[in-house]
């Protein structure tokens, strides 16, 4: 029930936030923040009752009893569809990330959103609810439902509160995800139909559909259906074109949620569904996926280098960073997978913070064009220092979370394909180039003395400090996160090894 409650609190909270607007336009923000924090506290309290995470045995992918939590209730028995939720280390990490970044997003909407605040906060909370559903649903029908439904509030956030080209960006975002989602739907239904004809029983449960016997070619096509849906969301090269538009045009809180959380649903889907459901097909496909990942790392970095729009640059850097996740997943060994999970968390924090800085700049300067910035450190020293921190975090400075992540991915990848590792490592160098360029163009250089700009206030500094602590923590002592993911990854690796007898 805990998992359903987590979602319900956000759904009802969204409704409350919308209704609370009649008491004043600042009330919805407080309601939203309270709801997200309540959800977080509720989760943490519930977790204290669970066994120590580090000492957990490896959860067997096919056996829900070995997971941290499992809940199942009938929904549409005619097709074997149920409300099935389960939680293991990786989903728990993602849920925690979602809720923390949810609070950050509410904070970043504090002064950014001025019209229809109630409806905005409601959409924000509903998106979070959908994302939590994606991370916890283990019935494929239910998973698809959350996957699609979370798009609608996100669409409204971009379409109503976005910047000048919001209609185009919102539409592109929705169509990309929806069209690729349809391919996944066909795959899900085909998988369920094959299971039904094998066993005579309809089921959409993950635990039943693992180990479904089918022809190799069928498995390959079905795997592609899942892969495309997840890689569009990730986003991986060459399906990334929606991302720069959506990120640039979304309001700050929308960008934070998009980059911090929504992209991770794609990575999560790959680890949870695409590979375990079709291990053999994934081996055949892994070389292609790895090349796509490496291409994304380099291509995203090169494009980021060419941008003049502050937000667009960060958006392309996301393409580059998420390429590492794709590499980590398809290298499919302990080190690389750990790196991928680490990257999901670290990139969530660093990019969310950078988007918040971009939003604050836009709010103060009314432009995102870096050619009109320069010397902002002089005007706003606190913001400059904060920006410096997150930019070097994003370029992968040792001691911060992103470095650990990318290093682990490269280390794991080296065992699989040394040449590709060299190409991917180029991403670190180009990353340094575009990140420092971003810093130079906007915060350094000749200051404009006539500018009167408000520096970061207490609320902003508090939010930023939270994320700084998180990144430093991840960089200096990543063990707790690794421990949470470790048993799950062990279980997955053992599972795929028993199915295909070896590494991907």
């Amino acid at each position: 029930m805990l998992m359903i409650n987590l979602i319900l609190i956000l759904l009802v909270g969204g409704l409350l936030a919308m209704l609370s607007e009649r008491f004043g336009s600042h009330v919805p923000r407080m309601v939203a923040l309270a709801v997200v924090l309540l959800d977080l506290v509720y989760l943490l309290l519930a977790l204290s009752g669970l066994p120590e995470l580090g000492g957990l045995q490896a959860p067997v992918p096919g056996d829900p009893q070995t997971w941290l939590m499992h809940y199942r209730a009938e929904w549409i028995p005619a097709f074997g569809i149920s409300f099935e939720f389960a939680l293991d280390g990786i989903s728990l990490l993602m849920v925690l990330l979602t809720l923390v970044l949810g609070a950050v997003a509410v904070s970043s909407s504090w002064t950014d959103v001025t019209t229809k605040c109630g409806f905005f906060e409601a959409n924000l909370l509903w998106t979070l609810a959908g994302v939590l559903g994606v991370f916890m649903a283990l019935d494929l029908f239910l998973f698809f439902l959350f996957w699609e439904v979370m798009l609608i509030p996100m669409y409204f956030m971009i379409a109503i509160w976005g910047h000048e080209q919001r209609a185009y960006a919102a539409m592109k975002f929705f169509i990309f995800t929806q069209a690729s989602g349809l391919l996944m739907l066909v795959s899900v239904l085909t998988l369920a139909t094959i299971h039904q004809s094998n066993t005579g029983v309809w089921s959409f449960s993950y635990f039943d559909l693992l180990n479904t016997q089918m022809a190799a070619q069928t498995a390959y096509w079905l795997m592609l259906g899942f892969f495309v849906a997840f890689v569009v969301k990730l986003p991986g090269f060459p399906f990334h074109t929606w991302l720069p538009d959506a990120h640039t045009q979304a309001p700050t809180a929308g960008s934070v949620i998009l980059a911090g959380v929504l992209l991770k649903t794609g990575a999560y889907g790959l680890i949870r569904f695409a590979v375990p459901l079709f291990p053999e097909a994934s081996i055949d496909f892994a070389p292609i996926a790895l090349w796509l990942g490496a291409a994304g790392v380099v291509y995203g970095a090169v494009l980021a280098f060419a941008q003049t729009d502050f937000k667009r640059l960060i958006a392309y850097s996301s393409v580059s960073h998420m390429g590492f996740v794709l590499l980590g997943v398809y290298a499919w060994n302990q080190l690389a997978l750990q790196g991928a999970v680490m990257q999901m968390v670290a990139h969530g924090f660093s990019t969310a913070a950078l988007f918040m800085i971009a939003g604050s700049l836009q709010e103060r300067l009314h432009t995102r064009d870096m050619r009109e910035m320069g010397g902002l450190w002089h005007n706003m020293p606190r913001m400059g220092a904060v920006a410096m921190f997150f930019i070097i975090a994003s370029l992968g400075l040792p001691g911060l979370g992103n470095f650990v992540a990318e290093f682990l991915v490269l280390l794991g990848l080296f065992q699989v394909d040394p040449w590709l590792t060299m190409i991917a490592a180029l991403g670190l160098i180009t990353g340094a180039a575009y990140s420092l360029l971003l810093m130079q163009r906007s915060f350094q250089g000749e200051p404009d003395e006539s500018r009167r700009l408000n520096d970061f206030g207490t609320r902003e500094m508090l939010t930023m400090a939270l994320m700084m602590v998180a990144l430093i923590g991840l960089g200096l002592y990543p063990q707790p996160v690794l421990d949470m993911a470790q048993p799950v990854l062990d279980g997955l690796l053992q599972f795929s090894a028993t199915v295909v007898g070896g590494q991907l």
Partner: protein, 471 residues
């Protein structure tokens, strides 16, 4: 004909009686309110009659096959007519003119639809189709002002009459080749007759397909649809989209099953081509529309294409026949919800049908905007709405029958469709420049009720799925 056969025909009898009552009432004292009440009572009784007749399911003469499946659709169509009646009241009431004939026409047209649904013979099929169609021509032209309704009615009259003639000629050719006119007999004998006289069968089948394709507005027989949708009064458009098309599709399904037409691969390939063309062309043409009624016309072309996918997968009772039941029900309810909102927001003013007229609807009238959003999302097949479960059925059925080319068209078509549904939703969500308080539109209860049905059917479909299986 014995008593239980009469009881089986109860819905038809009640409707006929309602028509007679309306005529008698008009000859005594012409009064719109009374006519409205009589029609409403008649329609409610028809729904009851369809439920009552379930216990007497049987074949009645060679013309009718009364079965629970048909009776379910009879009650659904009567419900759609009732919605049309409720919507029409607002549209026509304000002028104080004599409009009683409209109600009579509505009842007669529904009678035709129910005949069509229950028929098991080409003669009753044609009778039902014509009764429904002729009444519909007049309903389309009913508003006295404006040229659009008359243009739409004439266009529909001429083209529909041609289609009927072609259909009739097709029947004649098939009869000449097989000597049969019942669905079952014709389907069985067509195979043997083809060996002796292939040309007659081919020409006859082709003509029947084009006749029925016209009524269902499948590509390439779809040209009339947008003009008629646009020109007709909005409640009548809703009626045309749901009752007229739904009844013909039920008849087609029955013909397909009773005649075991799934044994003819060449027929299936022809239907597959039509289905793919409808899904792709319908969705592509909808992209460029700025009038919401024209847009829904093209979207309905695509939806009939999706339904045809299910029809192609039919081989008897089973998942595919449940899929027809579910999809058609979902489509009828969703369309009614959409037209209920459009009838209120656009009224009979042609300029108000532009998408630009819907800008900022969210902030003017939340309820209507939410209802239309849910209806559009259901048409687009987004989860939690009835339309999604419908799409779920279409894809599952397609996968089971390995119709990969058709499934590809479903996916591509749905991906295109998202764009134009979102365009309307985007227009509605625009924050208006002025802060003037707009008056809410009247009559939101009906739209709210239909929207709720769409959501319930999409979120808790279990009981309806079981019901559909039991039919």
């Amino acid at each position: 004909m014995n008593l239980s056969q009469v009881q089986a025909l109860m819905p038809l009898l009640i409707l006929s009686l309602t028509a007679v009552m309306l005529m008698i009432q008009a000859s005594i004292k012409r009064d719109q309110a009374t006519a409205w009440v009589i029609t409403a009572i008649g329609l409610v009784l028809t729904i009851w009659g369809a439920i009552y007749a379930r216990d007497f399911s049987q074949t009645v003469t060679i013309l009718f096959n009364v079965d629970p499946w048909g009776l379910f659709f009879s009650s659904l169509m009567a419900l759609a007519a009732l919605v049309t009646l409720l919507l029409s009241r607002e549209s026509f009431a304000d002028e104080g003119q004599r409009k009683e004939e409209y109600y009579l026409l509505l009842v007669l047209s529904l009678l035709g639809a129910l005949v069509l649904i229950q028929s098991s013979h080409m003669v009753s099929l044609l009778l039902g189709m014509e009764l429904m169609g002729v009444a519909l021509y007049v309903m389309i032209a009913f508003p006295e002002k404006g040229e659009l309704p008359v243009e739409a009615a004439i266009k529909y009259l001429v083209l529909s009459a041609c289609a009927s003639v072609i259909l009739l000629y097709g029947f004649a050719l098939l009869y000449a080749a097989t000597g049969e006119l019942s669905y079952a007999g014709l389907g069985v004998k067509a195979g043997q007759a083809y060996a002796q006289n292939p040309l007659l069968i081919l020409a006859g089948t082709g003509m029947v397909i084009s006749g029925i394709g016209f009524k269902l507005s499948l590509v390439p027989f779809h040209m009339w649809t947008p003009d008629v949708y646009q020109g007709a009064p909005t409640p009548v458009t809703g009626y045309l989209a749901t009752v007229s098309k739904g009844a013909v599709f039920v008849a087609l399904t029955r013909m397909y099953l009773d005649g075991q037409l799934y044994q003819y691969p060449s027929l299936i390939s022809a239907l597959a081509v039509i289905a793919i063309a409808s899904m792709l062309i319908g969705n592509l043409l909808a992209l460029r529309q700025n009038n919401i009624k024209r847009l829904l016309a093209y979207s309905s072309i695509a939806h009939l294409g999706y339904l045809l996918v299910v029809l192609i997968a039919l081989t008897g009772k089973g998942l595919a026949s449940d899929a027809v039941t579910y999809y058609l029900t979902a489509y009828v309810l969703t369309s009614l919800a959409a037209f209920a909102v459009i009838a209120r927001v656009s009224g009979e003013d042609a300029t108000q049908c532009q998408i630009s007229a819907y800008e900022g609807l969210f902030w003017r009238d939340k309820v209507q905007a939410i209802c239309l959003t849910v209806a559009l999302l259901s048409l687009a097949g987004i989860p939690l709405t009835a339309g999604f479960i419908g799409k779920f059925y279409v894809i599952t059925v397609g996968v089971q029958s390995s119709l990969w080319a058709l499934l590809a068209a479903v996916v591509v078509g749905s991906a295109i469709a998202i764009y134009y549904y979102l365009r309307i939703i985007f227009a509605m969500s625009k924050v208006p420049e002025d802060t003037v308080e707009h008056q809410a539109y009247p009559g939101r209860v009906l739209a709210l009720f239909l929207t709720l049905l769409v959501l319930v059917l999409g979120s808790w479909p279990e009981s309806f799925i079981n019901y559909a299986t039991s039919l």
